[in-house]
Amino acid sequence: MKNDRGGQLKIYQLFSPVLYGICLKYMKNEDDAKDVFQEAFVIVFQKISQYKFEGSFEGWLKRIFINKLIETLNKKKKESFFLDVFDPDTDFVEEEELDIIPIEQEKLLEYIRDLPDQYRTVFNLYVFEKMKHKEIAELLKISEGTSKSNLNRAKHILQKRILSIKKNFKIA
């Protein structure tokens, strides 16, 4: 499989939409998403012999991609990345339940990508990858408190964005 270009192409065709979607969710910039997507796929094909048939293949691919995405984000962000520390007083925002209105996926993606890098990463890992704060903290080498704080702030920002849309929606 390592040098079987036909097989590689099939894998690419089958999984590239989902994996590219992940890259778009994690990276603010589409060019960056493309770069990571390419590099991660190269890693996949180089390390495919290391796939141990434990768990799903898609899961294995996703892990490689997420690791690569986090590595890239860490490299990009040299300044205060994940420096926020959880402050229970200010960070605990009462989560509001919002009215259901139809929002296009493209819009939702835009909101996610507009989040600051650290918030976006934690939000993605928590909401989409179903990771626990402890796991996120280990992966990102941050404290659990920071992970919770980042998630809360991300949610807060998203909540505001959606509320603002809803206002417009109602007006319209």
């Binding site: 036909g6 590689q8 690419y12 089958l14 493309k34 997507f37 190269v42 293949f57 989560e95």
Partner: protein, 619 residues
């Protein structure tokens, strides 16, 4: 209105997918091809450098030590040694500079090779034949360069051969060069070859491709041929060549067809003018189609794949009569292709091709399952492989190095202090890893222990017809006999003053003992990170004497009579190892050896410093 949380709102994004731009696959392919070459190059270069270093150092030191033995006379010995060493160094510098220049030339030709191969793989260019002739010209230029820069006739010949070999590489990559390949291999004079090759390409023109494609069947690898033909078959406005191409396409493997189609798919800039007569165009990119209708993604891909697999010729059915004889399924696919180009909708694809492609769709969708649900046997094998790879407990080490004996006890021979002497050593060792940290090693090593003593007084019986060494030894029983050759009599400093003979000369006494040693060492890994590994080794060795020589001022005095046939000693070393490729490591090993009993009745240097360079292969 029903309410929901933020997470619920975004839950629809969990399975968010987006089709990547088509050019990304091409870039991934490029990246997949590149690093392999680099890695291999690094491996070979490092192996070559290691061997060169290992061989060069001992030989340089060997010659320098020989020269010093012959040329040194009394007090001037040190100065002469220096001069000789300098000359040696200059010589090696010269040879190195020549090698460097050769390397540069090689790199130049490599660059040309890369550029030419890149050019030849460019499918978007419709003037492939013209381009090929250009690439051949470019190679010719580079080859001429190498000829001009040659240093010696011998080197020149070697370079020519090397370049000739290289010229095959682009030939393999592009089937159109097949003719030139055979010509180059049969003729010896390259300049003529190049001219011939150029002519072939220039005169071939557009129709030249047909002949070339025929010849390829017998001369080039099947796969390469198929690729070239397939590429050509997609080039628009070349109906003649296409017919020939389609003939040979009957042999094309499914995979190749897939590949070609994929390449075409992922290049939206390229014209998809598959059907020259009808003039209808397929959508620029299948992926564009797919993005318009997500659910049809895999189906549309399957449509194209199956079309390519079953009958690549169907892409231009109106041009090729032979295609009529193909199966009805192929026809239907072909007609769909045409229909596709007319209607320009993916929807029609999915409806007409439902039967055939549902199978393909299932195949693709089950790919993941197929990988995951590999038979238990395969899984077992994998696990076995894993355990085997983990049990890479054995390692083979090849090494060569220099050694220098030391006199730490201020031992004296005949009243003069023993000096250090350089020698070389080489050997092979096997290592067995007990666990992560500890390992034992044993092997064979050829090592030389030597010493030189300056200002040794001696009498040479060669000049004294009436004087025999036995006369001297009878009177001076306290003076030990060192060498077996009785024509020389070594005189100690104390007796020299007593004798006050004009016949006493002073010279440099050089003694060498060469052993074949069998060490037994224990290694402890003190540092192991990434590719670097540092070990501390200690152990003992036994050695058998294989060569024994004594010389005064370069004149052999036979063997040292006091040398023990078997020696033993201890060794302490540190190995700094760097992994260059998978299981291959290079290492540097500074070491100190202690010989317990080199001579039985005479003082001798017992310590020895060594520096070994080597290659370590795990298995």
């Amino acid at each position: 209105m029903k309410k929901q949380k933020i997470e619920d709102i975004f839950s629809s994004m969990e399975d968010f997918s987006s089709v990547p731009p088509p050019e990304l696959w091409g870039q991934i392919e490029e990246k997949l091809d590149k690093p392999k070459k680099k890695k291999r190059a690094i491996l070979w270069w490092s192996a070559a450098a290691c061997l060169l270093l290992g061989l060069l150092l001992p030989s340089v030191l060997h010659f320098s030590s020989d020269n010093s033995g012959i040329k040194t006379i009394q007090n001037n010995s040190i100065e002469n040694n220096d001069v000789v060493l300098d000359q040696e160094n200059k010589d090696t510098d010269k040879t190195r500079s020549i090698e460097n220049k050769e390397n540069i030339l090689e790199k130049e030709s490599n660059n040309n090779r890369v550029s030419s191969s890149e050019k030849t793989t460019n499918q978007s260019d419709q003037n492939q034949l013209n381009q090929n002739s250009k690439t051949v010209k470019a190679q010719t230029g580079s080859q001429n360069k190498t000829n001009n820069n040659s240093f010696e006739p011998k080197v020149n010949v070697e370079r020519n051969n090397a370049v000739a070999e290289k010229s095959f590489v682009p030939a393999r990559e592009n089937g159109l060069n097949a003719d030139s390949k055979s010509q180059i291999s049969t003729n010896k004079k390259e300049n003529i070859n190049r001219a011939v090759a150029e002519k072939t390409f220039v005169s071939a023109g557009e129709n030249g491709f047909n002949a070339a494609s025929k010849n390829q069947l017998s001369t080039t690898k099947k796969e390469n041929l198929n690729k070239a033909v397939a590429e050509k078959s997609f080039a628009p406005n070349k109906s003649d060549s296409f017919n020939y191409g389609s003939k040979s396409q009957s042999d094309i493997e499914k995979r190749n067809a897939d590949k070609v189609l994929a390449e075409k798919k992922f290049a939206p800039a390229k014209t998809n003018n598959f059907n020259a007569v009808s003039g209808n165009q397929l959508p620029n990119s299948i992926f564009e189609d797919l993005s318009s209708s997500k659910n049809k993604n895999a189906l549309a891909l399957n449509a194209s794949n199956s079309a390519a697999k079953r009958n690549p010729n169907a892409l231009s059915p109106s041009l090729n009569k032979e295609n009529i004889q193909k199966t009805t399924a192929d026809k239907s696919i072909a007609s769909v292709q045409n229909g596709n180009s007319k209607n320009n909708t993916a929807f029609s694809n999915s409806t007409v091709l439902s039967k055939k492609d549902s199978v393909q769709l299932a195949e693709l969708q089950n790919l993941e399952k197929g990988i995951a649900a590999v038979t238990p046997e395969a899984e077992k094998k994998k696990k076995e492989d894993k355990t085997l790879s983990k049990s890479e407990k054995w390692a083979l080490q090849l090494f060569a190095g220099v050694a220098n004996s030391e006199n730490y006890k201020n031992n004296k021979t005949l009243g003069n202090v023993n000096d250090s002497k350089q020698s070389n050593s080489y050997g092979v060792k096997t290592q067995y890893k007990i666990n992560k940290k500890w390992a034992v090693a044993s092997g064979f090593k050829i090592n030389e222990l030597g010493q030189s003593v300056a200002n040794v007084s001696y009498l040479s019986t060669r000049n004294q017809a009436l004087f025999s060494s036995s006369d001297y030894f009878v009177k001076n029983e306290s003076v030990p006999q060192i060498a077996s050759d009785t024509r020389y009599v070594l005189v100690s400093n104390t007796t020299k003053d007593v004798l006050q003979s004009d016949n006493i000369e002073t010279g440099n006494l050089s003694q060498n003992l060469r052993y074949i040693e069998m060490p037994l060492e224990v290694s402890y890994s003190v540092f192991n990170k990434n590719r670097t590994n540092i070990n501390l080794n200690t152990g003992g060795f036994v050695g058998k004497l294989i060569s024994n020589s004594v010389a005064i001022d370069g004149n052999s005095m036979g063997e040292n009579v006091n040398a023990n046939d078997y020696v033993y000693g201890t060794t302490l070393s540190s190995t700094v190892q760097y992994r260059v490729y998978k299981k291959t490591n290079v290492f540097v090993e500074p070491a100190v050896n202690y010989y317990a009993n080199p001579l039985s009745n005479q003082s001798f240097n017992q310590f020895q410093w060594g520096l070994n360079f080597g290659l370590n292969v795990n298995f």
